[in-house]
Amino acid sequence: MALTFNPKIFQDIDEKYAAWKKKLGKVFAKKPERLKRFSTVSDKKIADIYTPADLKDQDFAADIGFPGDYPFTRGVQPSMYRGRLWTMRMFAGLGTAEDTNRRFHLLVREGQTGLSTAFDMPTLMGYDTDSPKARGECGKCGVAIDTLKDMEDLFSGLPIDRITTSMTINPPAAVIWAMYIAMAEHRGIDRKVLGGTIQNDMLKEFVAQKTFMCPPEPSVRIVTDTVEFGTKEVPRWNTISISGYHIREAGSTAVQELAFTLADGIAYTEKALERGLHVDAFAPRFSFFFNSHLDFFEEVAKFRAARRMWARIMKERFGAKDPRSLWMRFHTQTAGCSLTAQQPYNNVVRTALQGLAAVMGGTQSLHTNSLDEVLAIPTEEAATIALRTQQIIAEESGVANTIDPLGGSYFVETLTNQMEEEAFELIHKIDHMGGMLAAIEQNFPQQEIADAAYHYQKQIDDHEKTVVGVNKYAIDAEDIPVEVLEIDEALETIQIEKTHRVKENRDGAALKQCLEKVGEACTGTENVMEHLITAVKAGATLQELCDVFRDVFGSYRDPGIY
């Protein structure tokens, strides 16, 4: 069934279009078009106008339909924001566990509805604060977590049985999750009721975020252990947050973000199936994470295409039956890389537009960046304005009153179709290479992203793309008008002492045995998760456990694709 038009209409449109084009030609003959080339931020060419003729082959029921119905183009739940607004989830983490705990309490007080944890670089890379590799990095980019004690302090006084927590952690995800579960159990909360997300998406690490520890294959093996464990033991937990966000921030185009993310999802699904799990047992606990970039319509189309593509992949490729397996639920973060150090208040406007696109695209949760994004991790004031931005979109703008408000726009539907088509093309290419793991080994996504990033930078330098306040409307010798958060260097010593106190008060023999058990599980095929939980309860530090991974699986080094 074609969209709502009868065939005669198209002929009519074609004629009228030709006539309009002619008129247009005359206008531009006098004074040329404003730009030589109209293209999105991903440098995708955009036409002057879209008409029903662009949607000639669209089948409303099969391609668009209704929210909550396959293929979910218009949203995963039937009610969308008419029922409940998206979760406002601001990414936060700084200094020590106590510092971040204070920030969490503030955000909850200000109306935030979910928590999201940022870890510091040593934690992200599987090192304790006392490692020589961690010198100068403690607490700078997030919270330092070395031991279970830190995890307990981090969530002290927060209702973790009612509020869900997302944790942006990858190579040590299994260890951090083990700490979280252990912390909850110490508080008497059953793991079966725990809700939250670990990012745990190792594939995108190799191509985008670059926090990696072991080579791709064993990294994915550990991820699969967590998927299996979650399916059986922590059923309300999202075991992987399959992330396009980082891919886009590393410089990819929107289509690449879409394609590489879904290709990663395909790879995790295949690995879980190989493990003997049933697709409908684990797929409902996969969640996604996208970027919302500058180009408003391109982003809305990307979100809509993503939902439709994932539903089709799960149904057609993997034979999933449970509708929850077909749902692409996703978190969105606005594009940090689009923000500027110059005239930082402009960032509030950019973020508002990007947040709006995410909402128009039907996101399940949202982080809006702070105006000081390019300067340092956000101050309390800046983070609050960013949260308010979401609240204004949600409760003042009216955009959440109807579902998929841009559905049916000739332009947005066309763009949605094109994104799907182009992304599937890339996915087929990756399939042909032997899947995402093989593609990563051949540095394919890495090279694609590097090329796109360089291309974009050149476009800015050549003024083909405008960055307000930077390559246009710049102010000379600008003073930064905002406060910049500084993390005290002295925290490092305090944190090291705290970790040493924990280390001194452990039963050495019991600890050794725990670490050996983890090692054996890694060497063999037994699931590591339960052993990790026992080990962190016995006082094992993050690095001690990560060192076991490194010893057994080896370390991965950056291939330096430029």
């Binding site: 080994e441 080094r557 291939p559 330096g560 430029y562």
Partner: protein
């Protein structure tokens, strides 16, 4: 100068690094140093590694370094990457794969760009080999992309020349036949974790065995070895084959001295003279402006290039200094 020789032979990293730079930049002063250092050369075993772009040469070199270090050998690495024909710049990307050895004082790694100067690559790489040799490195590994003649010549001047291929190269194997098959002492099929390894192995074997008569006479028959450089598999087998080849050289060609056989010396001298003459003559002509004038005249049509060349070269040769 004595100081410099002393520093190089005692392994001073900074001095060695600077000297290689001077060689690479073609600084004339460097000739004196190379003369003085020559007596200290001839003790290193040189292994040349070549193959198409991306076959895993650097990954392999990285693993070789690790294995050789375990055997207690000191290692020098020269990694050559192509210069961009558009900008004259280059990203020297091999070092990234070997960077884990940078803190090992028994290892010296240097990246070089092809630069495209006449006869330069072979010349300057050979001199760099001499410098690392004089520095006392036991083994010197030279990596080049096996595309241009220059690059192939570089690895050819090694004791053992290794050609790296990957499975499923198909047509490329034919290309190897035409170009570099003859120079290979050892063939490696890297990435043999991939499909098509055995097919490639058979193709290579067939190609090598076309020369069976030669091998029947006792000449070295290049072995073909499967490796997986990233997974550190097969590297021991490969190094055993290098040992084997070294023993063969020992028995047939004077071992370490085989790089200085009469044929090789003759050939290298021809190249060196060619490069030196070219440099001296062209420098002189550029300096005096004669070269540009001749070009102008040819462009204007008042002179033919043949006469111009004669008119330039002979007087220039006559005027070359006897000794600098």
């Amino acid at each position: 100068m004595k100081d410099l020789v002393e520093k190089v032979t005692s392994g001073d990293v900074r001095t060695v690094a600077r000297l290689i730079r001077d060689v690479d930049d073609g600084m004339p002063e460097v000739r004196e140093a190379l003369k003085e250092l020559y007596p200290y050369t001839g003790n290193a075993y040189v292994i040349g590694i070549t193959g198409a772009p991306g076959v895993g040469k650097s990954t392999l070199v990285d693993q070789m370094v690790a294995h050789l270090r375990k055997r207690g050998k000191t290692v020098g690495v020269l990694a050559v990457d192509p210069t961009s024909p558009f900008s004259g710049g280059a990203i020297l990307g091999d070092r990234v794969r070997m960077q884990r050895h940078s803190m090992d004082s028994g290892v010296f790694i240097r990246s070089l760009a092809t630069r495209g100067h006449f006869g330069g690559l072979t010349q300057s790489t050979r001199s760099a080999i001499d410098i690392l040799d004089a520095m006392g490195k036991d083994v010197i590994l030279v990596e080049t992309v096996g595309v241009g003649q220059d690059e192939v010549d570089v690895v050819r001047s090694a004791h053992t020349t290794v050609i790296v291929v990957v499975p499923g190269m198909g047509d490329d194997i034919q290309a190897i036949k035409a170009g570099i098959l003859e120079v290979g002492d050892i063939f490696l099929i890297n990435k043999s974790d991939r499909e098509g390894t055995d097919k490639t192995l058979n193709e290579l074997r067939l190609m090598i065995e076309m020369d069976q008569k030669k091998f029947d006479k006792g000449l070295w028959k290049p072995p073909i070895i499967k490796v997986e450089a990233v997974f550190d598999k097969g590297v021991d087998d490969f190094l055993a084959a290098v040992d084997e080849h070294a023993r063969y050289l020992e028995q047939t060609a004077g071992g370490l001295k085989s790089r200085r056989s009469p044929e090789r010396v003759r050939q290298e001298m021809v190249e060196m003279i060619k490069a030196r003459l070219f440099e001296e003559v062209l420098d002189k002509l550029t300096e005096t402006g004669e070269f540009d004038r001749a070009v102008d005249a040819i462009v204007k049509g008042s002179l033919d290039p043949y006469s111009a060349c004669e008119g330039l070269v002979f007087p220039a040769l006559a005027g070359l200094p006897d000794e600098e």
